[in-house]
């Protein structure tokens, strides 16, 4: 994909970090359970690479705060760190991990990115934003226990979205099927 296309995809992902939380506001507890703001950021990292994922994770929450007041100013810095790490890590891992199985790549990158984001955000909170008043227990509760359903939901949603986009030919396939000229199976089609 060209830089222009990556930029435009990043732009719509940023717009969706503002729009999706609004759409889910009607569903009770959706914000903390479904974590709608994470989806576009992770997706942007997975598809466009780490620089764009990082940009999306930084610009998205800022614009969202400006337009909807969510996340509130107080929660914004930690949120920025968390989402920036998601976008960054999702992109980095997707470019490093190539198992030749799209599913495996996606699951692995997602899980590690989500883990990394939570750890870094927790550390940032403990050390910078709320130094002293932040305990291990509070971190575990807020990042894992309450958001566990969110993690599970994202593990289902994100690969489905990636595949839908591939089928709609809006993003190139990660492992394009090899064109076989002589009729015998190619080296890479053994899976």
């Amino acid at each position: 994909m060209t830089i222009v296309k990556r930029s435009m995809i990043t732009a719509v992902c940023v717009a969706l970090t503002v729009v999706l939380p609004m759409a889910f506001h009607a569903v009770p507890n959706a914000g903390s359970v479904i974590l709608p703001m994470h989806i576009p950021v992770l997706l942007c990292g997975l598809i466009c690479g780490w620089p764009f994922g990082l940009a999306c994770g930084l610009i998205g929450p800022l614009l969202s705060n400006l337009f909807t007041g969510m996340p509130p100013m107080a929660a914004l810095p930690a949120m920025l760190v968390e989402l920036a790490v998601y976008g960054l890590m999702a992109g980095l891992l997707m470019s490093c991990v190539r198992t030749r199985k799209v599913y495996a790549d996606l699951y692995f990158s997602l899980l590690v990115a989500m883990l990394a984001g939570r750890i870094v955000a927790g550390m940032a909170r403990a050390l910078i934003f709320a130094a002293g008043s932040y305990s291990m227990a509070a971190w575990t509760t807020s990042y894992f226990v309450t958001s566990l359903p969110g993690i599970a939901i994202q593990i289902v949603l994100l690969p489905s979205i990636v595949f839908a986009l591939e089928r709609a030919r809006l993003i190139p396939a990660r492992y394009p099927k090899e064109i076989v000229l002589d009729g015998s199976p190619g080296l890479d089609s053994s899976e």
Binding site: T2, M8, L63, L170
Partner: protein
């Protein structure tokens, strides 16, 4: 192409058109600060009057300048209601189920909506009087120092301006898709966790597919016009700051100062 949203550059020769894009951009940023600082009716009045003056200087028809507000009044209504109904206050006027209407909530809602409307109109005036290329060039000049640490400032500027553009459009589209799937029998409020992810697919997949389609169309259109996203693009003659540009920035700064110190 007909679906590429509005908010486009309208060529002209007005005072605002001729102002240095960087001056306009700095002006907008100062205006943002003034909007955030505004808290009293007097403060808002001053800002609205000032927007009126800008409008007169831009030579844009009034109808066109407020077009983004007319298209998105629902969006504003949602924001207002969310603030008014979900603001946790010790002394609510009225509560029912998860909703609680409070004075503070209402004021907060009105505040957010007013601020947003002013920012959107101001941003719209900027976009209408300045070509996208000029805006990105201005952003680049503004954030030039960042380039020394290898950050492609023009791309970031482009992403932000396109994203802002897409927010109301996509908000409307999400609502439309939600309704279409509801008619088809989708239930988004499934309580069982296992069903929940699956129940979100009919909403989330179309939203992303359509958003990516818009991104694709826009990227194609830009590439067709020769935009490559490289930092070394020719951006026309660099205009140096003139007296009027300094004047404009100073007036903005004065208004912001009045806003913060007096009102």
């Amino acid at each position: 192409m007909s679906r590429i949203p509005a908010g486009m550059y309208i060529p002209g020769k007005s005072f605002l058109h001729r102002l240095d894009p960087l001056a306009k951009l700095i002006g907008l940023i100062i205006l943002l600060a003034a909007v955030i600082a505004a808290s009293s009716p007097g403060g808002y009045l001053l800002l609205i009057l000032f927007i009126g003056v800008l409008l007169a200087l831009s030579g844009l028809p009034f109808k066109l300048a407020i077009a983004p507000l007319r298209r998105t009044y629902l969006f504003f209504a949602v924001i207002f209601l969310m603030n008014a109904l979900f603001f946790a206050d010790v002394d609510p006027l009225w509560t029912w189920w998860i909703f609680s209407l409070s004075r503070t909530g209402l004021i907060q809602g009105a505040n957010v909506v007013l601020r947003l409307a002013i920012i959107i109109v101001a941003g719209h005036i900027l976009i209408s009087t300045t070509s996208p290329m000029e805006i990105t060039a201005a952003f680049r000049r503004l954030l030039k120092p960042l380039q020394y640490i290898n950050i492609p400032v023009d791309i970031v500027a482009l992403i932000v301006s396109v994203a802002i553009h897409f927010i109301p459009v996509l908000a409307e589209e999400v609502e439309m898709i939600r309704k279409a799937q509801t008619v088809r029998g989708a239930r988004f409020d499934s309580t069982r966790l296992r069903d929940r992810a699956a129940s979100l697919l009919p909403l989330v997949i179309p939203v992303f597919v359509n958003a990516f389609k818009r991104a694709d169309e826009l990227a194609l259109a830009m590439e067709a016009r020769g935009y490559r996203g490289e930092g070394r693009r020719v951006s026309g003659p660099e205009i140096a700051f003139q007296a009027r540009d300094f004047g404009a920035v100073l007036i903005m700064a004065a208004i912001c100062a009045v806003q913060i110190l007096v009102l």
